[in-house]
Symmetry: C2
Subunit: 440 residues, 2 copies
């Protein structure tokens, strides 16, 4: 569990206020407790009981609507009609695995690969971002013959055994695996790129000293679970150069920033002017139909195929491909990358203005429609205030806005709505946040 | 890659006979080579170019239809209308993650858990069988504090880094990971249960001697990639008792045998009168919509949740749940478990009769709609004849029947059609196989 999730989930069942929930919802929580048990992770002190969704809105049985500022999976909008129609048509026509030939997976693969820089021209489909990162780690260990990875210190890259080892946020308070080194998230100041480069170099040296060797540097290019890090654009360059100089691979985890979210192109790494060796994708790829992917070069894919012999039963199946194609079409035809830049920029300016009125807002940062609002109890010391984040999340929920938190201390409000978010939605969020902060 | 897959894929691109393929198919193979590259796995010397599917049939652009005796994912039939309608309705209504409350995942969880024996009453949803087994391994290592696993010697349990380590069929010719011990597949003879028990005990002793300790015994309860092992029913009992006596968990991988395929109930372990500690599911669960699951007890799930903090973004989402519910409804209302027993029994008798006419058929075995036909070059010595299997697979493809092979030597024809397979389909398969064997 990410630290941020942990904070939100503290309540789960125990601390929920069941007396305040409608009887049907209380009954559902009881059923959930019986079947999901301890693996349940439920948001909000007063969990939402949703029955439908549309665009940027989720709806409860009584008709109340909630503005969705949390969900990056339905990036082209909840229940997007084009995706729904494409999936409905395809599931009634053909849905098999890729050991037979069919057209749609190649229509999709070609269109998706066309969004990547030259050289990144091979794809393997998976079902989830976790599966994608699990493959990426093996691409790197096979290519380098080394085991060691460098990640940021509150990174989250997924939930498989191997990927959880390079996800420090999943193991709060536990020692890292011996082959993993962390560097601080690159947050704050113009010198952040030079610091990251130096930190990565030191981490590589440590891995080499301890005999693990260096396989790769793996980052989410918007640093989601680290609390969002975006500026100055280009800060990844030195660390990526150092990675390559040391013989390692640079793996760009685009599960969160990818598919246009940062507003500066399809992929988060493009903001930094760097060329990854491996790119991984997941969450928004199929707008909720499980699909993930790994894009890399021929030489790396060849080494992987020779060594592992990978096959993914559902990966790239016709229904997943249909969803993926519809998502790309929506992003392109509706100009959602430009929308992310426009609305994100507008919202960041308005959020920034809140700093003048609210001491609790220590920083506002991000790119496109991935923004972070950092809460602090002391702005000079930048003392993390997760209790404010937790309070605001539940206060916004009571005012019908859904939002979450991220960061090592769970004190960064995480703004990552569907990409169809408009300026009017941004206004509603900023004004409601303003009011909630005033009532702190 | 499974040995069996390797044989079928030998051709992949290089050995395909492109001159014989229609021009559109040749063009598609070329595009595939460009985008998938070396990770492509393609069936048949002359790959199938499918455009639609229906029930037990796949169809090419020219209208030719192929009887599907291979695919266990679309277990309630290709493009099953109930599943298609359920998914189409749900994807237009609501599709989010399980951190909010919604009804359909609990309708599904409750209905699914009702098919399990008492005590196995907690579920965690994933997206794939691989993710499920990846979780199961951690349930066992956390509960026991040990690392060692025992599996069969040509087992396949999935494609993540951790699961590939307990999948010897994915690593032909490579040494096993130090914490893994294999036992021969329990094929042949009334004493197979006693032999398996002794083998498992020896494997446990070896793990303990080498300091790994024993975490669990993991088997596919129909032993798919080992070449199918079903009789005598109950043969797992001694090995499971030995597992428990040694403090390990018994993990039943029901990704292939589950959901009624063996004809003796919903789960393959039920044929053996054993109670697993953990059950994993995947492939047919959503009839092609990616969904998987792990079922276990409260104490084991608690340990896992405390230690790992697992969350799966797509796992159990409303669309996946809708597909899963529709699959259960089809299995129950159309009596597909009974159909698997009936058609499977009928087909096994007819296949058995082929042994009298064809020396190449060394054995016929299995349960329900998971049957194996073992090809040998010398029936007394039972010398494996993978070349016959490979020839028959391509000969059947030329006669419009799709089938694959399994087993350590790739010499076992693997019969696992959709569960709606009828006696008439069985007749067509047996008679076409008979004719192909006659022409050997």
């Amino acid at each position: 569990m990410k630290a941020s999730q942990k904070i939100l989930a503290l309540n789960a069942f125990d601390a929920a206020r069941p007396g305040e929930l409608p009887p049907e919802t209380q009954a559902l929580v009881k059923r959930r407790q019986q079947s999901f048990g301890p693996t349940s992770v439920l948001f909000h002190e007063k969990p939402l009981h949703v029955v439908s969704a549309d665009g940027v809105w989720l709806q409860e049985a009584d008709g109340s609507r909630y503005l969705d500022v949390y969900n990056n999976v339905p990036s082209v909008g909840h229940c997007n009609p084009r995706v729904a129609q494409a999936v409905s048509r395809q599931i009634a026509t053909l849905n098999v695995h890729t050991r037979y030939l069919y057209d749609i997976v190649h229509d999709y693969a070609d269109r998706l690969l066309a969004t990547f820089p030259e050289g990144l021209d091979k794809i393997a489909f998976t079902c989830t971002g976790s599966e994608s990162n699990d493959v990426a780690l093996r691409l790197a260990t096979i290519a380098t013959g080394k085991r060691g990875f460098v990640v940021t210190d509150n990174a989250y890259h997924g939930n498989t055994t191997a990927v959880a080892e390079v996800s420090p946020s999943s193991r709060p308070g536990k020692p890292l695996s011996p082959h993993v080194r962390v560097v601080p998230a690159p947050i704050g100041g113009a010198e952040v790129g030079a610091k990251l480069e130096a930190d990565v170099k030191a981490a590589i040296a440590s891995l080499e000293k301890d005999g693990h060797g260096f396989a790769g540097f793996l980052v989410d290019t918007i640093f989601s679970s680290d609390g969002v890090a975006a500026d100055p654009a280009g800060f990844l360059k030195g660390a990526v150069d150092a990675t390559h100089a040391a013989g390692g691979l640079f793996i760009a985890d685009e599960v969160q920033p990818g598919f246009g979210r940062t507003g500066a192109g399809m992929w988060g790494f493009q903001r930094h002017g760097v060329l990854p060796d491996v790119v991984t994708m997941g969450k928004p790829m199929g707008n909720g139909i499980p699909i993930g992917g790994v894009v890399s070069r021929l030489d790396l894919m060849q080494g992987f195929a020779d060594s592992v012999g990978y096959f993914n039963t559902f990966g790239g199946n016709p229904v997943a491909s249909a969803a993926g194609l519809a998502v790309l079409a929506e992003i392109e035809e509706r100009g959602l990358v430009a929308n992310a830049a426009d609305v994100g920029g507008y919202m960041m300016a308005r959020l920034g203005a809140l700093m003048q009125r609210h001491e609790a807002v220590g920083a506002v940062r991000g790119a496109g429609l991935y923004l972070g609002v950092e809460f602090v109890s002391d702005r000079d010391a930048m003392t993390p205030a997760p209790e404010i984040a937790s309070h605001i999340i539940n206060a916004l929920r009571d005012r019908h806005i859904l939002i979450g938190a991220a960061g090592r201390y769970g004190n960064v409000l995480k703004i990552r709505p569907p990409l169809i978010f408009g300026r009017d939605h941004a206004d509603l969020l900023v004004e409601t946040l303003d009011a909630s902060l005033t009532q702190l």
